[in-house]
Symmetry: C2
Subunit: 330 residues, 2 copies
Protein backbone atom coordinates (compact mmCIF):
# COMPACT_ATOMS: atom_id res chain seq x y z
CA UNK A 1 0.00 0.00 0.00
CA UNK A 2 1.46 3.32 -1.09
CA UNK A 3 -0.45 6.31 0.23
CA UNK A 4 0.28 9.86 1.30
CA UNK A 5 -0.58 9.12 4.92
CA UNK A 6 1.04 8.86 8.32
CA UNK A 7 -0.75 5.72 9.45
CA UNK A 8 -4.01 3.88 8.99
CA UNK A 9 -4.90 4.81 12.56
CA UNK A 10 -4.54 8.57 12.08
CA UNK A 11 -5.63 9.00 8.47
CA UNK A 12 -9.01 10.51 9.31
CA UNK A 13 -7.85 12.87 12.04
CA UNK A 14 -4.88 13.94 9.91
CA UNK A 15 -7.12 14.69 6.95
CA UNK A 16 -9.56 16.55 9.16
CA UNK A 17 -6.73 18.70 10.44
CA UNK A 18 -5.72 19.51 6.87
CA UNK A 19 -9.32 20.16 5.92
CA UNK A 20 -9.71 22.66 8.72
CA UNK A 21 -6.48 24.44 7.75
CA UNK A 22 -7.57 24.58 4.11
CA UNK A 23 -11.06 25.85 4.91
CA UNK A 24 -10.86 28.38 7.72
CA UNK A 25 -14.39 29.53 6.85
CA UNK A 26 -15.68 26.33 8.47
CA UNK A 27 -15.37 25.21 12.07
CA UNK A 28 -14.10 21.71 12.80
CA UNK A 29 -14.74 20.06 16.16
CA UNK A 30 -11.79 17.68 16.14
CA UNK A 31 -12.89 15.79 19.26
CA UNK A 32 -16.35 15.01 17.95
CA UNK A 33 -15.23 15.01 14.32
CA UNK A 34 -17.96 17.28 13.11
CA UNK A 35 -17.58 20.01 10.48
CA UNK A 36 -19.78 23.09 10.96
CA UNK A 37 -20.37 26.42 9.32
CA UNK A 38 -18.78 29.20 11.29
CA UNK A 39 -21.84 31.41 11.05
CA UNK A 40 -24.97 29.52 12.05
CA UNK A 41 -28.14 29.96 10.04
CA UNK A 42 -30.79 32.46 10.92
CA UNK A 43 -33.01 31.43 13.83
CA UNK A 44 -36.18 29.74 12.61
CA UNK A 45 -34.64 27.92 9.63
CA UNK A 46 -34.33 24.18 9.17
CA UNK A 47 -30.84 22.79 9.73
CA UNK A 48 -29.32 19.97 7.65
CA UNK A 49 -27.05 17.34 9.13
CA UNK A 50 -25.35 14.64 7.13
CA UNK A 51 -22.28 12.48 7.46
CA UNK A 52 -20.93 9.03 6.93
CA UNK A 53 -17.69 7.14 6.63
CA UNK A 54 -14.53 8.88 5.43
CA UNK A 55 -13.04 8.02 2.06
CA UNK A 56 -15.75 9.65 -0.07
CA UNK A 57 -14.33 13.17 -0.06
CA UNK A 58 -15.45 15.79 -0.84
CA UNK A 59 -18.62 14.14 0.51
CA UNK A 60 -19.79 15.18 3.14
CA UNK A 61 -17.55 17.78 4.77
CA UNK A 62 -16.90 19.49 1.44
CA UNK A 63 -20.61 20.31 1.22
CA UNK A 64 -20.89 22.18 4.50
CA UNK A 65 -21.59 25.86 4.07
CA UNK A 66 -24.08 28.42 2.87
CA UNK A 67 -26.80 26.83 0.75
CA UNK A 68 -25.97 23.24 1.66
CA UNK A 69 -25.24 21.43 4.94
CA UNK A 70 -25.04 22.90 8.42
CA UNK A 71 -22.95 20.04 9.73
CA UNK A 72 -21.21 16.89 8.52
CA UNK A 73 -20.29 14.05 10.88
CA UNK A 74 -17.05 12.36 9.89
CA UNK A 75 -16.70 8.63 10.52
CA UNK A 76 -13.62 6.47 10.28
CA UNK A 77 -12.80 5.20 6.78
CA UNK A 78 -15.90 3.49 5.37
CA UNK A 79 -17.40 3.46 8.89
CA UNK A 80 -20.51 5.23 10.16
CA UNK A 81 -20.25 8.17 12.52
CA UNK A 82 -21.50 7.38 16.01
CA UNK A 83 -24.89 8.43 17.44
CA UNK A 84 -23.00 10.72 19.84
CA UNK A 85 -21.32 12.57 16.99
CA UNK A 86 -24.58 12.97 15.15
CA UNK A 87 -26.39 14.07 18.30
CA UNK A 88 -23.73 16.67 19.06
CA UNK A 89 -24.08 18.02 15.52
CA UNK A 90 -27.87 18.06 15.74
CA UNK A 91 -27.93 19.98 19.01
CA UNK A 92 -25.32 22.44 17.75
CA UNK A 93 -27.03 23.38 14.49
CA UNK A 94 -30.69 23.30 15.56
CA UNK A 95 -32.22 26.76 15.13
CA UNK A 96 -35.73 26.29 16.42
CA UNK A 97 -37.21 24.88 13.22
CA UNK A 98 -36.06 21.27 13.32
CA UNK A 99 -33.29 19.27 11.74
CA UNK A 100 -33.21 17.16 8.60
CA UNK A 101 -30.84 14.21 8.62
CA UNK A 102 -29.50 13.15 5.23
CA UNK A 103 -28.44 9.51 5.43
CA UNK A 104 -26.98 7.15 2.85
CA UNK A 105 -28.57 3.71 3.00
CA UNK A 106 -25.98 1.58 4.79
CA UNK A 107 -27.11 -0.34 7.84
CA UNK A 108 -24.63 1.29 10.24
CA UNK A 109 -25.45 4.80 9.06
CA UNK A 110 -29.17 4.19 9.19
CA UNK A 111 -28.99 2.74 12.70
CA UNK A 112 -26.74 5.44 14.12
CA UNK A 113 -28.69 8.32 12.62
CA UNK A 114 -31.86 6.70 13.97
CA UNK A 115 -30.42 6.52 17.46
CA UNK A 116 -29.29 10.13 17.19
CA UNK A 117 -32.76 11.15 16.08
CA UNK A 118 -34.21 9.49 19.19
CA UNK A 119 -31.70 11.30 21.39
CA UNK A 120 -32.62 14.58 19.73
CA UNK A 121 -36.29 13.99 20.12
CA UNK A 122 -35.74 13.35 23.84
CA UNK A 123 -34.11 16.76 23.89
CA UNK A 124 -37.23 18.15 22.17
CA UNK A 125 -35.55 18.76 18.85
CA UNK A 126 -37.74 17.79 15.95
CA UNK A 127 -35.84 15.57 13.52
CA UNK A 128 -36.83 14.19 10.14
CA UNK A 129 -34.74 11.80 8.10
CA UNK A 130 -34.27 11.14 4.42
CA UNK A 131 -32.51 7.97 3.38
CA UNK A 132 -30.81 7.98 0.00
CA UNK A 133 -30.95 4.54 -1.65
CA UNK A 134 -30.31 5.28 -5.29
CA UNK A 135 -27.86 2.66 -6.53
CA UNK A 136 -29.74 0.64 -9.14
CA UNK A 137 -26.91 -1.90 -9.25
CA UNK A 138 -28.50 -3.52 -6.23
CA UNK A 139 -31.52 -5.55 -7.16
CA UNK A 140 -34.07 -6.60 -4.56
CA UNK A 141 -32.96 -10.18 -4.85
CA UNK A 142 -29.43 -9.31 -3.83
CA UNK A 143 -30.05 -7.39 -0.69
CA UNK A 144 -32.74 -7.10 1.93
CA UNK A 145 -31.10 -3.87 3.08
CA UNK A 146 -32.16 -2.30 -0.20
CA UNK A 147 -30.20 -0.10 -2.50
CA UNK A 148 -27.03 1.65 -1.44
CA UNK A 149 -26.89 5.42 -1.19
CA UNK A 150 -24.50 7.14 -3.60
CA UNK A 151 -24.48 10.14 -5.93
CA UNK A 152 -28.01 11.38 -5.38
CA UNK A 153 -26.80 12.42 -1.93
CA UNK A 154 -24.71 15.21 -3.44
CA UNK A 155 -27.57 16.53 -5.56
CA UNK A 156 -29.99 16.26 -2.64
CA UNK A 157 -27.70 18.18 -0.30
CA UNK A 158 -27.55 21.00 -2.84
CA UNK A 159 -31.25 21.15 -3.68
CA UNK A 160 -32.62 20.64 -0.19
CA UNK A 161 -29.93 22.90 1.22
CA UNK A 162 -31.23 25.72 -0.95
CA UNK A 163 -34.79 25.14 0.19
CA UNK A 164 -33.74 25.20 3.85
CA UNK A 165 -31.71 28.34 3.27
CA UNK A 166 -34.76 30.04 1.80
CA UNK A 167 -36.68 29.43 5.01
CA UNK A 168 -39.08 26.64 4.10
CA UNK A 169 -40.37 24.71 7.09
CA UNK A 170 -39.33 21.20 8.11
CA UNK A 171 -42.28 19.50 6.50
CA UNK A 172 -41.63 21.18 3.17
CA UNK A 173 -37.89 20.58 3.28
CA UNK A 174 -38.41 16.95 4.26
CA UNK A 175 -40.97 16.45 1.52
CA UNK A 176 -38.57 17.86 -1.03
CA UNK A 177 -35.81 15.59 0.24
CA UNK A 178 -38.03 12.51 -0.09
CA UNK A 179 -38.93 13.53 -3.60
CA UNK A 180 -35.29 13.95 -4.67
CA UNK A 181 -34.25 10.71 -2.98
CA UNK A 182 -37.01 8.85 -4.79
CA UNK A 183 -36.17 10.38 -8.16
CA UNK A 184 -32.38 9.95 -8.30
CA UNK A 185 -30.73 6.86 -9.75
CA UNK A 186 -27.06 5.87 -9.83
CA UNK A 187 -24.79 3.24 -11.30
CA UNK A 188 -21.03 2.87 -11.03
CA UNK A 189 -18.15 0.88 -12.48
CA UNK A 190 -14.70 0.16 -11.11
CA UNK A 191 -11.59 -0.33 -13.20
CA UNK A 192 -9.47 -0.95 -10.12
CA UNK A 193 -10.18 -1.48 -6.45
CA UNK A 194 -9.56 0.96 -3.64
CA UNK A 195 -7.22 0.04 -0.82
CA UNK A 196 -8.60 0.67 2.65
CA UNK A 197 -5.66 1.93 4.74
CA UNK A 198 -6.38 -0.39 7.68
CA UNK A 199 -6.52 -3.38 5.33
CA UNK A 200 -3.39 -2.48 3.41
CA UNK A 201 -4.38 -4.47 0.35
CA UNK A 202 -6.95 -3.88 -2.41
CA UNK A 203 -10.51 -4.80 -1.45
CA UNK A 204 -10.87 -6.86 -4.61
CA UNK A 205 -8.77 -7.75 -7.61
CA UNK A 206 -9.59 -7.19 -11.24
CA UNK A 207 -7.72 -8.55 -14.20
CA UNK A 208 -6.25 -6.08 -16.70
CA UNK A 209 -9.24 -6.57 -18.99
CA UNK A 210 -12.01 -6.65 -16.39
CA UNK A 211 -14.32 -4.16 -14.72
CA UNK A 212 -16.67 -4.43 -11.76
CA UNK A 213 -20.07 -3.40 -13.12
CA UNK A 214 -22.30 -1.86 -10.48
CA UNK A 215 -19.60 -1.50 -7.84
CA UNK A 216 -20.50 0.15 -4.53
CA UNK A 217 -18.61 3.13 -3.14
CA UNK A 218 -17.05 0.92 -0.48
CA UNK A 219 -15.98 -1.67 -3.01
CA UNK A 220 -19.11 -3.76 -2.58
CA UNK A 221 -19.47 -6.28 -5.40
CA UNK A 222 -21.44 -5.11 -8.40
CA UNK A 223 -23.81 -6.99 -10.62
CA UNK A 224 -21.01 -8.84 -12.33
CA UNK A 225 -17.49 -8.78 -13.66
CA UNK A 226 -17.44 -7.69 -17.26
CA UNK A 227 -14.78 -7.31 -19.90
CA UNK A 228 -13.24 -3.87 -20.25
CA UNK A 229 -14.63 -1.89 -23.20
CA UNK A 230 -14.39 1.48 -24.94
CA UNK A 231 -16.06 4.52 -23.40
CA UNK A 232 -19.29 4.26 -25.40
CA UNK A 233 -19.93 0.71 -24.27
CA UNK A 234 -19.08 1.53 -20.66
CA UNK A 235 -21.47 4.47 -20.85
CA UNK A 236 -24.18 2.12 -22.12
CA UNK A 237 -23.61 -0.10 -19.10
CA UNK A 238 -24.13 2.90 -16.85
CA UNK A 239 -27.10 4.47 -18.61
CA UNK A 240 -28.87 1.22 -19.53
CA UNK A 241 -29.72 0.13 -15.96
CA UNK A 242 -31.04 3.60 -15.10
CA UNK A 243 -33.37 3.52 -18.08
CA UNK A 244 -34.39 -0.06 -17.31
CA UNK A 245 -35.17 1.08 -13.77
CA UNK A 246 -37.69 3.59 -15.08
CA UNK A 247 -35.71 6.79 -15.61
CA UNK A 248 -38.26 9.08 -17.23
CA UNK A 249 -37.70 11.31 -20.24
CA UNK A 250 -37.44 15.03 -19.57
CA UNK A 251 -34.97 17.42 -17.94
CA UNK A 252 -32.31 16.04 -15.64
CA UNK A 253 -29.25 16.96 -13.64
CA UNK A 254 -26.38 14.58 -14.29
CA UNK A 255 -23.51 13.89 -11.94
CA UNK A 256 -20.50 11.97 -13.23
CA UNK A 257 -18.01 11.47 -10.45
CA UNK A 258 -14.59 9.94 -10.54
CA UNK A 259 -14.12 7.42 -7.75
CA UNK A 260 -10.79 8.82 -6.60
CA UNK A 261 -8.14 7.71 -9.08
CA UNK A 262 -9.77 8.67 -12.37
CA UNK A 263 -8.70 11.95 -13.95
CA UNK A 264 -10.96 14.63 -15.44
CA UNK A 265 -9.71 13.95 -18.98
CA UNK A 266 -11.37 10.52 -18.85
CA UNK A 267 -14.49 11.76 -17.09
CA UNK A 268 -15.16 14.40 -19.73
CA UNK A 269 -14.89 11.83 -22.50
CA UNK A 270 -17.29 9.52 -20.66
CA UNK A 271 -19.63 12.42 -20.04
CA UNK A 272 -19.95 13.08 -23.78
CA UNK A 273 -21.02 9.46 -24.30
CA UNK A 274 -23.44 9.58 -21.39
CA UNK A 275 -25.10 12.72 -22.71
CA UNK A 276 -25.55 11.14 -26.15
CA UNK A 277 -27.16 8.05 -24.67
CA UNK A 278 -29.43 9.98 -22.34
CA UNK A 279 -30.58 12.32 -25.07
CA UNK A 280 -31.36 9.31 -27.27
CA UNK A 281 -33.95 8.23 -24.69
CA UNK A 282 -35.37 11.71 -24.26
CA UNK A 283 -33.45 12.77 -21.15
CA UNK A 284 -32.24 16.33 -21.57
CA UNK A 285 -29.15 17.15 -19.52
CA UNK A 286 -29.90 20.65 -18.26
CA UNK A 287 -27.20 20.82 -15.56
CA UNK A 288 -24.19 18.68 -14.77
CA UNK A 289 -21.36 18.07 -12.34
CA UNK A 290 -18.34 16.32 -13.81
CA UNK A 291 -15.44 15.66 -11.45
CA UNK A 292 -14.76 14.04 -8.10
CA UNK A 293 -17.86 14.78 -6.05
CA UNK A 294 -18.28 11.42 -4.31
CA UNK A 295 -15.36 9.02 -4.24
CA UNK A 296 -14.24 5.67 -2.90
CA UNK A 297 -10.70 6.29 -1.65
CA UNK A 298 -8.36 5.55 -4.56
CA UNK A 299 -10.75 3.45 -6.63
CA UNK A 300 -10.46 3.87 -10.40
CA UNK A 301 -13.78 4.16 -12.19
CA UNK A 302 -16.80 6.40 -12.17
CA UNK A 303 -20.30 6.83 -10.84
CA UNK A 304 -23.21 8.17 -12.85
CA UNK A 305 -26.24 9.76 -11.17
CA UNK A 306 -29.24 11.09 -13.04
CA UNK A 307 -31.88 13.15 -11.28
CA UNK A 308 -35.00 14.16 -13.21
CA UNK A 309 -35.90 17.76 -12.36
CA UNK A 310 -38.68 20.27 -12.87
CA UNK A 311 -38.41 24.04 -12.77
CA UNK A 312 -38.69 24.12 -8.98
CA UNK A 313 -35.86 21.65 -8.35
CA UNK A 314 -33.78 23.46 -10.93
CA UNK A 315 -34.26 26.79 -9.20
CA UNK A 316 -32.97 25.25 -5.96
CA UNK A 317 -30.06 23.77 -7.88
CA UNK A 318 -29.21 27.18 -9.30
CA UNK A 319 -29.48 28.96 -5.95
CA UNK A 320 -26.18 30.20 -4.51
CA UNK A 321 -23.93 27.90 -2.53
CA UNK A 322 -20.62 28.49 -0.83
CA UNK A 323 -18.92 25.31 0.29
CA UNK A 324 -15.40 23.93 -0.22
CA UNK A 325 -16.46 21.63 -3.05
CA UNK A 326 -19.47 23.29 -4.64
CA UNK A 327 -20.01 26.96 -5.02
CA UNK A 328 -21.70 29.43 -7.20
CA UNK A 329 -22.48 33.08 -6.89
CA UNK A 330 -25.19 34.75 -4.87
Amino acid sequence: MKKLITSAETVVSDALRGFSLAHPGLFVDHDQRVVYRREPKEYGTVALVSGGGSGHEPLHSGYVGFGMLDAACVGEVFTSPTPDQIHAATVAVERGAGVLQIVKNYSGDVMNFEMAAELAQSARIEVRTVIVADDVAVTDLQSKAGRRGTGTTVLLEKIVGAAAEQGHDLETVHGLALLVAAAGRSMGIALASATVPAAGVPTFNLADDEIEWGVGIHGEPGRERQPMAPARELAERLVGPLVADGLPAGDAIVLLSGLGATPLLELYGMFAEVVDLLEAVGVRVVRSLVGDTITALDMAGCLLTVLPVDAELLSYWDAPAETPALRWGR
Copy 2:
Protein backbone atom coordinates in the same frame (compact mmCIF):
# COMPACT_ATOMS: atom_id res chain seq x y z
CA MET B 1 -3.91 0.16 -20.05
CA LYS B 2 -7.37 0.51 -18.55
CA LYS B 3 -8.92 3.89 -19.18
CA LEU B 4 -12.37 5.36 -19.69
CA ILE B 5 -11.61 6.30 -23.28
CA THR B 6 -12.62 5.41 -26.81
CA SER B 7 -9.12 5.41 -28.28
CA ALA B 8 -5.76 7.07 -27.84
CA GLU B 9 -6.39 8.90 -31.12
CA THR B 10 -9.65 10.53 -30.02
CA VAL B 11 -9.07 11.03 -26.31
CA VAL B 12 -8.55 14.78 -26.56
CA SER B 13 -11.41 15.54 -28.93
CA ASP B 14 -13.73 13.29 -26.93
CA ALA B 15 -12.85 15.02 -23.69
CA LEU B 16 -13.25 18.41 -25.32
CA ARG B 17 -16.73 17.43 -26.46
CA GLY B 18 -17.63 16.41 -22.92
CA PHE B 19 -16.09 19.58 -21.55
CA SER B 20 -18.21 21.71 -23.82
CA LEU B 21 -21.38 19.80 -22.87
CA ALA B 22 -20.55 20.17 -19.17
CA HIS B 23 -19.76 23.86 -19.41
CA PRO B 24 -22.23 25.54 -21.76
CA GLY B 25 -21.16 28.91 -20.38
CA LEU B 26 -17.95 28.56 -22.39
CA PHE B 27 -17.53 28.33 -26.15
CA VAL B 28 -15.39 25.55 -27.59
CA ASP B 29 -13.98 25.78 -31.10
CA HIS B 30 -13.62 22.07 -31.78
CA ASP B 31 -11.73 22.53 -35.05
CA GLN B 32 -9.06 24.75 -33.59
CA ARG B 33 -9.34 23.19 -30.13
CA VAL B 34 -9.61 26.46 -28.29
CA VAL B 35 -11.85 27.14 -25.28
CA TYR B 36 -13.24 30.67 -25.02
CA ARG B 37 -15.53 32.66 -22.77
CA ARG B 38 -18.91 33.15 -24.36
CA GLU B 39 -19.01 36.82 -23.45
CA PRO B 40 -15.83 38.57 -24.48
CA LYS B 41 -14.27 41.10 -22.15
CA GLU B 42 -14.97 44.78 -22.33
CA TYR B 43 -13.14 46.58 -25.15
CA GLY B 44 -9.90 48.09 -23.95
CA THR B 45 -8.96 45.36 -21.48
CA VAL B 46 -5.99 43.03 -21.71
CA ALA B 47 -6.79 39.49 -22.82
CA LEU B 48 -5.12 36.38 -21.41
CA VAL B 49 -4.30 33.34 -23.53
CA SER B 50 -2.80 30.16 -22.19
CA GLY B 51 -2.73 26.51 -23.17
CA GLY B 52 -0.56 23.47 -23.36
CA GLY B 53 -0.74 19.74 -23.68
CA SER B 54 -3.80 17.84 -22.52
CA GLY B 55 -3.60 15.58 -19.49
CA HIS B 56 -3.26 18.32 -16.87
CA GLU B 57 -6.96 19.01 -16.42
CA PRO B 58 -8.47 21.19 -15.09
CA LEU B 59 -5.46 23.17 -16.42
CA HIS B 60 -5.95 25.15 -18.70
CA SER B 61 -9.49 24.95 -20.06
CA GLY B 62 -10.95 24.74 -16.55
CA TYR B 63 -9.57 28.22 -15.87
CA VAL B 64 -11.27 30.00 -18.73
CA GLY B 65 -13.91 32.46 -17.60
CA PHE B 66 -14.55 35.68 -15.75
CA GLY B 67 -11.55 36.72 -13.69
CA MET B 68 -9.12 34.30 -15.28
CA LEU B 69 -8.30 33.29 -18.87
CA ASP B 70 -9.95 34.51 -22.05
CA ALA B 71 -8.86 31.47 -24.03
CA ALA B 72 -7.08 28.16 -23.55
CA CYS B 73 -5.45 26.29 -26.42
CA VAL B 74 -5.72 22.55 -26.07
CA GLY B 75 -2.88 20.39 -27.35
CA GLU B 76 -2.75 16.63 -27.76
CA VAL B 77 -1.82 14.68 -24.62
CA PHE B 78 1.42 16.13 -23.25
CA THR B 79 1.95 17.95 -26.57
CA SER B 80 2.07 21.67 -27.22
CA PRO B 81 -0.73 23.43 -29.06
CA THR B 82 0.29 24.66 -32.50
CA PRO B 83 1.15 28.25 -33.39
CA ASP B 84 -2.01 28.31 -35.53
CA GLN B 85 -4.22 27.42 -32.59
CA ILE B 86 -2.58 30.02 -30.41
CA HIS B 87 -2.79 32.64 -33.13
CA ALA B 88 -6.48 31.95 -33.68
CA ALA B 89 -7.09 32.35 -29.95
CA THR B 90 -5.06 35.54 -29.80
CA VAL B 91 -6.92 37.17 -32.67
CA ALA B 92 -10.27 36.12 -31.27
CA VAL B 93 -9.82 37.47 -27.75
CA GLU B 94 -7.85 40.63 -28.47
CA ARG B 95 -9.84 43.68 -27.29
CA GLY B 96 -7.62 46.56 -28.31
CA ALA B 97 -5.36 46.48 -25.27
CA GLY B 98 -3.00 43.65 -26.12
CA VAL B 99 -2.71 40.02 -25.17
CA LEU B 100 -0.73 38.29 -22.46
CA GLN B 101 0.43 34.74 -23.22
CA ILE B 102 0.88 32.48 -20.19
CA VAL B 103 3.30 29.71 -21.11
CA LYS B 104 4.71 26.82 -19.12
CA ASN B 105 8.42 26.35 -19.70
CA TYR B 106 8.60 23.37 -22.07
CA SER B 107 10.52 23.80 -25.28
CA GLY B 108 7.58 23.02 -27.58
CA ASP B 109 5.24 25.37 -25.75
CA VAL B 110 7.78 28.16 -25.63
CA MET B 111 8.56 27.82 -29.34
CA ASN B 112 4.95 27.65 -30.48
CA PHE B 113 3.76 30.54 -28.33
CA GLU B 114 6.73 32.54 -29.63
CA MET B 115 5.76 31.84 -33.24
CA ALA B 116 2.17 32.77 -32.45
CA ALA B 117 3.34 36.00 -30.85
CA GLU B 118 5.21 36.85 -34.05
CA LEU B 119 2.14 36.12 -36.15
CA ALA B 120 0.08 38.34 -33.86
CA GLN B 121 2.57 41.15 -34.02
CA SER B 122 2.44 40.99 -37.82
CA ALA B 123 -1.30 41.44 -37.43
CA ARG B 124 -0.58 44.47 -35.21
CA ILE B 125 -1.70 42.82 -32.00
CA GLU B 126 0.57 43.63 -29.11
CA VAL B 127 1.60 40.46 -27.30
CA ARG B 128 3.60 39.96 -24.13
CA THR B 129 4.62 36.63 -22.73
CA VAL B 130 5.25 35.25 -19.30
CA ILE B 131 7.01 31.92 -18.98
CA VAL B 132 6.39 29.94 -15.82
CA ALA B 133 9.47 27.95 -14.77
CA ASP B 134 8.85 27.18 -11.14
CA ASP B 135 9.80 23.55 -10.60
CA VAL B 136 12.74 23.58 -8.22
CA ALA B 137 13.30 19.87 -8.81
CA VAL B 138 15.24 20.87 -11.90
CA THR B 139 18.66 22.15 -11.05
CA ASP B 140 20.66 24.19 -13.53
CA LEU B 141 23.09 21.34 -13.98
CA GLN B 142 20.36 19.03 -15.15
CA SER B 143 18.80 21.08 -17.84
CA LYS B 144 19.77 23.91 -20.12
CA ALA B 145 16.09 24.45 -20.84
CA GLY B 146 15.68 25.60 -17.25
CA ARG B 147 12.99 24.75 -14.80
CA ARG B 148 9.71 23.21 -15.85
CA GLY B 149 6.47 25.14 -15.45
CA THR B 150 3.96 23.64 -13.02
CA GLY B 151 1.63 24.80 -10.22
CA THR B 152 2.53 28.49 -10.22
CA THR B 153 0.68 28.63 -13.54
CA VAL B 154 -2.66 28.12 -11.77
CA LEU B 155 -1.98 30.83 -9.20
CA LEU B 156 -0.70 33.18 -11.89
CA GLU B 157 -3.76 32.71 -14.05
CA LYS B 158 -5.97 33.65 -11.10
CA ILE B 159 -3.97 36.65 -9.91
CA VAL B 160 -3.11 38.12 -13.29
CA GLY B 161 -6.63 37.34 -14.54
CA ALA B 162 -8.05 39.53 -11.80
CA ALA B 163 -5.70 42.38 -12.69
CA ALA B 164 -6.68 42.17 -16.36
CA GLU B 165 -10.36 42.05 -15.44
CA GLN B 166 -9.94 45.23 -13.43
CA GLY B 167 -8.69 47.04 -16.51
CA HIS B 168 -4.97 47.40 -15.86
CA ASP B 169 -2.91 47.96 -19.00
CA LEU B 170 -0.68 45.41 -20.71
CA GLU B 171 2.51 46.69 -19.14
CA THR B 172 1.07 46.46 -15.64
CA VAL B 173 -0.50 43.06 -16.21
CA HIS B 174 2.70 41.74 -17.73
CA GLY B 175 4.78 43.13 -14.89
CA LEU B 176 2.53 41.44 -12.38
CA ALA B 177 2.79 38.16 -14.27
CA LEU B 178 6.59 38.31 -14.28
CA LEU B 179 6.57 39.01 -10.57
CA VAL B 180 4.32 36.02 -9.80
CA ALA B 181 6.29 33.73 -12.10
CA ALA B 182 9.51 34.71 -10.38
CA ALA B 183 8.10 34.25 -6.89
CA GLY B 184 6.38 30.85 -7.19
CA ARG B 185 8.18 27.60 -6.45
CA SER B 186 7.00 24.03 -6.90
CA MET B 187 8.08 20.48 -6.10
CA GLY B 188 6.30 17.21 -6.80
CA ILE B 189 6.51 13.52 -5.98
CA ALA B 190 5.08 10.51 -7.78
CA LEU B 191 3.98 7.30 -6.09
CA ALA B 192 3.03 5.75 -9.42
CA SER B 193 3.52 6.69 -13.06
CA ALA B 194 0.88 7.97 -15.43
CA THR B 195 0.11 6.02 -18.58
CA VAL B 196 0.02 8.09 -21.75
CA PRO B 197 -2.84 6.67 -23.87
CA ALA B 198 -0.81 6.55 -27.07
CA ALA B 199 1.99 4.68 -25.28
CA GLY B 200 -0.31 2.23 -23.53
CA VAL B 201 2.19 1.46 -20.78
CA PRO B 202 3.35 3.45 -17.73
CA THR B 203 5.99 6.07 -18.49
CA PHE B 204 8.19 4.74 -15.71
CA ASN B 205 8.06 2.00 -13.12
CA LEU B 206 8.39 2.37 -9.39
CA ALA B 207 8.77 -0.42 -6.89
CA ASP B 208 6.15 -0.75 -4.15
CA ASP B 209 8.40 1.06 -1.71
CA GLU B 210 9.75 3.76 -4.03
CA ILE B 211 8.78 7.29 -5.01
CA GLU B 212 10.03 9.61 -7.74
CA TRP B 213 11.17 12.74 -5.92
CA GLY B 214 10.85 15.87 -8.01
CA VAL B 215 8.84 14.27 -10.81
CA GLY B 216 7.65 16.46 -13.68
CA ILE B 217 4.01 16.71 -14.71
CA HIS B 218 4.74 14.71 -17.86
CA GLY B 219 6.53 12.01 -15.91
CA GLU B 220 9.96 13.57 -16.41
CA PRO B 221 12.52 12.05 -14.03
CA GLY B 222 12.90 13.78 -10.70
CA ARG B 223 15.97 14.38 -8.62
CA GLU B 224 16.14 10.78 -7.53
CA ARG B 225 14.28 7.65 -6.55
CA GLN B 226 13.68 7.57 -2.83
CA PRO B 227 12.14 5.11 -0.42
CA MET B 228 8.47 5.59 0.37
CA ALA B 229 7.88 7.30 3.72
CA PRO B 230 5.10 8.58 5.98
CA ALA B 231 3.35 11.85 5.15
CA ARG B 232 5.52 14.04 7.37
CA GLU B 233 8.72 12.88 5.72
CA LEU B 234 7.23 13.23 2.24
CA ALA B 235 6.12 16.74 3.16
CA GLU B 236 9.68 17.53 4.25
CA ARG B 237 10.94 16.39 0.85
CA LEU B 238 8.52 18.82 -0.80
CA VAL B 239 9.00 21.80 1.48
CA GLY B 240 12.77 21.38 1.98
CA PRO B 241 13.79 22.14 -1.61
CA LEU B 242 11.55 25.21 -1.73
CA VAL B 243 13.19 26.60 1.38
CA ALA B 244 16.65 25.68 0.10
CA ASP B 245 15.79 27.55 -3.09
CA GLY B 246 15.21 30.74 -1.12
CA LEU B 247 11.52 30.69 -0.25
CA PRO B 248 11.17 33.76 1.96
CA ALA B 249 9.28 33.95 5.25
CA GLY B 250 5.99 35.80 5.20
CA ASP B 251 2.51 35.31 3.80
CA ALA B 252 1.97 32.76 1.05
CA ILE B 253 -0.66 31.06 -1.05
CA VAL B 254 -0.19 27.30 -1.09
CA LEU B 255 -1.42 24.96 -3.77
CA LEU B 256 -1.35 21.22 -3.13
CA SER B 257 -2.57 19.37 -6.18
CA GLY B 258 -3.18 15.69 -6.66
CA LEU B 259 -1.58 14.45 -9.87
CA GLY B 260 -4.69 12.63 -11.08
CA ALA B 261 -4.99 9.42 -9.07
CA THR B 262 -4.57 10.72 -5.54
CA PRO B 263 -7.74 11.30 -3.53
CA LEU B 264 -8.58 14.33 -1.39
CA LEU B 265 -8.38 12.33 1.85
CA GLU B 266 -4.64 11.89 1.28
CA LEU B 267 -4.11 15.45 0.07
CA TYR B 268 -5.70 16.96 3.17
CA GLY B 269 -3.45 14.88 5.42
CA MET B 270 -0.39 15.98 3.44
CA PHE B 271 -1.57 19.58 3.54
CA ALA B 272 -1.59 19.54 7.35
CA GLU B 273 2.05 18.42 7.35
CA VAL B 274 3.01 20.99 4.73
CA VAL B 275 1.43 23.81 6.73
CA ASP B 276 3.32 22.75 9.89
CA LEU B 277 6.63 22.71 8.05
CA LEU B 278 6.04 26.02 6.30
CA GLU B 279 5.00 27.74 9.49
CA ALA B 280 8.13 26.41 11.20
CA VAL B 281 10.21 28.44 8.73
CA GLY B 282 8.05 31.54 9.05
CA VAL B 283 5.83 31.03 6.00
CA ARG B 284 2.23 31.84 6.92
CA VAL B 285 -0.33 30.06 4.74
CA VAL B 286 -2.93 32.75 4.17
CA ARG B 287 -4.81 31.07 1.32
CA SER B 288 -4.77 27.58 -0.13
CA LEU B 289 -6.03 25.31 -2.87
CA VAL B 290 -6.10 21.62 -2.01
CA GLY B 291 -7.37 19.28 -4.72
CA ASP B 292 -6.70 18.44 -8.33
CA THR B 293 -5.81 21.76 -9.93
CA ILE B 294 -2.95 20.63 -12.18
CA THR B 295 -2.56 16.94 -12.92
CA ALA B 296 -0.51 14.47 -14.92
CA LEU B 297 -3.10 12.07 -16.38
CA ASP B 298 -3.48 9.25 -13.86
CA MET B 299 -0.25 9.76 -11.98
CA ALA B 300 -0.39 9.08 -8.23
CA GLY B 301 1.33 11.68 -6.13
CA CYS B 302 1.15 15.38 -5.46
CA LEU B 303 2.58 18.73 -6.36
CA LEU B 304 3.25 21.52 -3.90
CA THR B 305 3.44 25.15 -4.98
CA VAL B 306 4.16 28.04 -2.65
CA LEU B 307 3.72 31.63 -3.76
CA PRO B 308 4.78 34.42 -1.41
CA VAL B 309 2.19 37.21 -1.53
CA ASP B 310 1.71 40.75 -0.34
CA ALA B 311 -1.60 42.56 0.17
CA GLU B 312 -1.86 43.49 -3.50
CA LEU B 313 -1.42 39.93 -4.80
CA LEU B 314 -3.83 38.72 -2.16
CA SER B 315 -6.49 41.18 -3.25
CA TYR B 316 -6.22 39.86 -6.81
CA TRP B 317 -6.42 36.32 -5.46
CA ASP B 318 -9.59 37.19 -3.55
CA ALA B 319 -11.23 38.92 -6.51
CA PRO B 320 -14.21 37.09 -8.01
CA ALA B 321 -13.70 34.34 -10.55
CA GLU B 322 -16.16 32.22 -12.43
CA THR B 323 -14.57 29.31 -14.24
CA PRO B 324 -15.30 25.57 -14.30
CA ALA B 325 -12.55 24.75 -11.83
CA LEU B 326 -12.12 27.85 -9.70
CA ARG B 327 -14.84 30.17 -8.63
CA TRP B 328 -15.76 32.48 -5.92
CA GLY B 329 -18.40 35.13 -5.51
CA ARG B 330 -18.51 38.60 -6.98
